[in-house]
């Protein structure tokens, strides 16, 4: 398994990976809680970006409503925990199942009836909006007034119930991100990954070669939905409150896809690099403005937008393919 995972990765790439992992593992010893919180946001964005990348980057299906899976996952696990005392790791199973089933329904409707491209994107937005409005009226989980998980000042970390300090959440998120990275790496090197890439490049050609495009697109959406639901569970237990307006909103879907787009769609490192760049840039902008004593609301967003504009215009394929090419790590689709 390990050999399969490392197959085709150049030595320099392995060294970079090992170095990065070592830095991330050691971070809680040197970073304060603020830096740790920012790193959690980076890892969370990288993880959700990776999950979305399975759909768009690997299988070429543009989803703009991935927030639905975050919300369903979060609400499912949180409701089981609050109402029945089910631990989040068990709730996760239900959360993944519900989100995957929802993904399957969306996928079936779209792929069976030939809804593709921007129309598929609109369909995913529509489902996320249905969910948002539906949960606004779903009293069992607080409806529009929000759903709150009980919290307390925990003296020790309780990993089983996901109650604890930022360091615990950091390691949980790091483990999830590494797992998502490994899964995607293995999938990309397997038959299913090649089929997805064939569908992404030319679906008609892929079908004429005998690939069951419906089935493999369904695999992509179900896997992506399930992975995203895991992030939803983390979100619910880390922030301890869920509002339909907050978790199902299209802005959350857009946040999710920005990382891979900036980092490089269809690449393994793209979501991580994109998340690091976006969050880092955002925090750096904040620090810069504070240092300049420019306390103007919205100024950060303006500078942030300009920086992103420059990145997108200069590197339309994403940052990672360019970085990888410069460092001689591997090909543009690594």
């Amino acid at each position: 398994m390990i050999a399969r995972m490392l197959d085709g990765v150049p030595g320099r790439g392995l060294a970079v990976l090992a170095g990065l992992l070592a830095v991330l593992l050691a971070a809680p010893w040197v970073a304060n809680d603020y830096v740790l919180t920012v790193l959690i946001i980076v890892l969370y964005s990288a993880y959700t970006g990776q999950a979305w990348n399975v759909m768009m980057g690997f299988a070429g299906q543009l989803s703009l409503g991935h927030a639905i899976y975050v919300g369903l996952g979060g609400y499912a696990a949180a409701a089981l925990y609050v109402h029945f005392g089910v631990a989040p790791w068990l709730g996760l199973v239900a959360a993944v199942a519900i989100a995957a089933a929802c993904g399957a329904v969306i996928g079936f409707l779209a792929f069976r009836f030939g809804v593709g491209g921007v129309y598929f994107a609109i369909l995913t937005i529509a489902f996320a909006e249905f969910a948002r409005i539906g949960f606004d009226h779903f009293r069992w989980v607080g409806a529009s007034s929000g759903f709150f998980l009980p919290v307390a000042n925990y003296t020790r970390n309780d990993l089983w119930n996901l109650r604890g300090d930022p360091t615990m959440f950091y390691y949980v998120m790091l483990a999830l991100t590494v797992a998502a990275f490994a899964i995607c790496h293995v999938l990309l090197k397997s038959r299913i990954g090649y089929y997805w890439q064939a569908i992404r490049e030319d679906e008609v050609a892929a079908r004429s070669l005998g690939i069951d495009t419906f089935r493999y697109k369904m695999y992509a959406i179900v896997l992506s939905a399930g992975m995203t639901a895991v992030a939803g569970v983390f979100f619910a237990f880390y922030y301890n409150n869920l509002f339909p307006e907050q978790v199902f909103h299209i802005s959350r879907s857009i946040e999710m896809i920005l990382g891979p787009i900036i980092g490089g769609i269809g690449t393994l490192f793209g979501p991580l690099v994109g998340a690091l760049l976006l969050t880092g840039l955002s925090e750096a902008m904040q620090e810069l403005l504070t240092a300049l004593r420019l306390d103007v609301p919205g100024a950060k967003q303006v500078f942030y937008g300009l920086c992103l504009l420059v990145v997108v215009m200069a590197l339309p394929g994403g940052v990672w393919p360019w970085v990888a090419g410069k460092l001689g790590l591997t090909g543009p689709r690594s």
Binding site: A143, S145, A152, Q246, G298
Partner: protein
């Protein structure tokens, strides 16, 4: 026995641990010494000054800007304000709270929105830093058993209950009451939440009116002529509303265009008393009544705050955002004065025993129950009259008599 490692400099692991411990003790002692110096209390203020709630966050910020000068006059200690923008985002709110604490904030204030406030509350509780909530109505926030979280703002249930109590008081005082109302509300999170709350609470108050029709509409609608026509067609005597600013303006214009002057416009949310509403509609803005957490115009500090606002921001009426953000800082300054220390635990203990009677909001003053909630707050009924917001209920806080029925739109010259 586990051997201790020694590096080339001769420093053992045990030696390092002892040294680090000593350094930690010294750092702690230095911190205590600094606090004992009596410098300004470092207060981190978290508000959504950009993003979807930017307008409200910036309005709350005005309450922050006005505080230092008034506190000086009151003989309260100086506060060093550390502003942070939550960008109307839960993740950012949490990260900013962590940043403020790591930058030395000794007390936090914020954050207008319940979701962002909950995220900040967890950080404050974990770090043992007092957090005074300015505005956030979700009851759950003070039901978590927090020791460092305090809220000087009514919960959603308190707001609704007071709204109906104030309506009954107005109807009794004027001897005029509608027998039927149409309930129009926005269909966003706030609107649906209020709609559910109103339907749940209303039966308990045996109001003189019946809701004959409920009409939900999109807060971003550009035309509400159909909705208003539908409401008018019911023959209801009054309008009960949960709206935002733009739709409040649209509805008023439609009322005028469709020549319908209800006996009363009873608003349970924002929009109808906002400055933009008053400025846009001029004389047509007169008449609507809003039921909101408000200030007592008779209180000395209210007059002081109102004068300061008029001087700093001419043309802006004092409102909920200014009042409760100012009061959150008032709680902080008062606690710092009594605690004589910026030690977070001492501050939290002082906040717990807060008893500020010289305050701004309606009610006996600022005190917190064992959950950290000021449960003695009272809400007001206010009415737009001549571009001003007059308090018409409760009686002890009123500065004008209610105008009910409100004057017809076609008789305003």
């Amino acid at each position: 026995m586990i051997p201790t490692t020694t590096n080339s400099s001769g420093l053992t692991r045990r030696g390092f641990a002892v040294g680090a411990g000593a350094a930690g003790l010294l750092a702690t002692a230095a911190g205590d010494f600094a606090r004992a110096q009596g410098g300004p209390l470092k207060v981190g203020v978290l508000l959504p000054r950009s993003g979807a709630q930017a307008g409200i966050g910036q309005d709350c910020q005005r309450g922050v800007e006005l505080a230092p000068a008034i506190f000086k006059e009151l003989g309260l200690p100086e506060l060093a304000i550390m502003n942070a923008d939550t960008e109307t985002n839960v993740e950012v709110a949490r990260a900013r709270a962590e940043k403020l604490i790591s930058d030395g904030a000794q007390l936090l204030v914020g954050a207008f929105d319940s979701g962002q406030t909950t995220a900040i509350a967890q950080v404050a509780e974990q770090k043992g830093i007092p957090f005074v909530i300015n505005i956030a109505a979700a009851p759950q926030i003070t039901e978590q058993g927090y020791k460092f979280v305090f809220r000087n703002f009514p919960t959603a249930a308190m707001i609704l209950s007071d709204a109906f109590a104030n309506q009954k008081e107005l109807f009794e005082a004027t001897g005029v009451a509608p027998k039927s109302v149409v309930f129009m509300h926005v269909n966003d999170t706030f609107g649906t939440s209020m709609q559910q709350g109103i339907n749940a609470v209303l039966p308990r108050f045996s109001m003189p009116y019946q809701i004959v029709e409920q009409i939900a509409y999109d807060p971003t609608a550009r035309d509400l002529s159909v909705e208003v026509a539908k409401a008018k067609a019911t023959g209801a005597q009054a309008l009960l509303l949960v709206s935002r600013l733009n739709d409040a303006i649209l509805i008023t214009r439609e009322l005028v265009k469709q020549r319908w002057s209800p006996m009363a416009v009873l608003s349970m949310g924002p929009g109808w008393y906002e400055d933009q509403y008053l400025k846009t509609l001029g004389k047509l803005s007169d008449g609507p009544m809003s039921f909101v957490p408000w200030y007592d115009p008779h209180k000395r500090l209210s007059k002081q705050l109102e004068a300061a606002l008029a001087k700093a921001y001419p043309g802006i009426n004092m409102n909920t955002n200014h009042v409760f953000t100012f009061e959150a800082l008032l709680v902080a300054a008062d606690a710092y004065k009594r605690a004589r220390s910026s030690d977070p635990k001492a501050l939290a203990d002082a906040i717990r025993t807060t008893n500020i009677t010289d305050n701004v909001s309606i009610g006996p003053g600022i005190q917190f129950n064992d959950k950290g909630q000021n449960d003695k707050l009272k809400n007001a009924a206010i009415q737009n009259r001549g571009g001003k917001l007059l308090t018409i209920a409760p009686k002890e806080a009123s500065n004008a008599k209610p105008e009910l029925p409100m004057s017809a739109y076609d008789r305003r010259g």
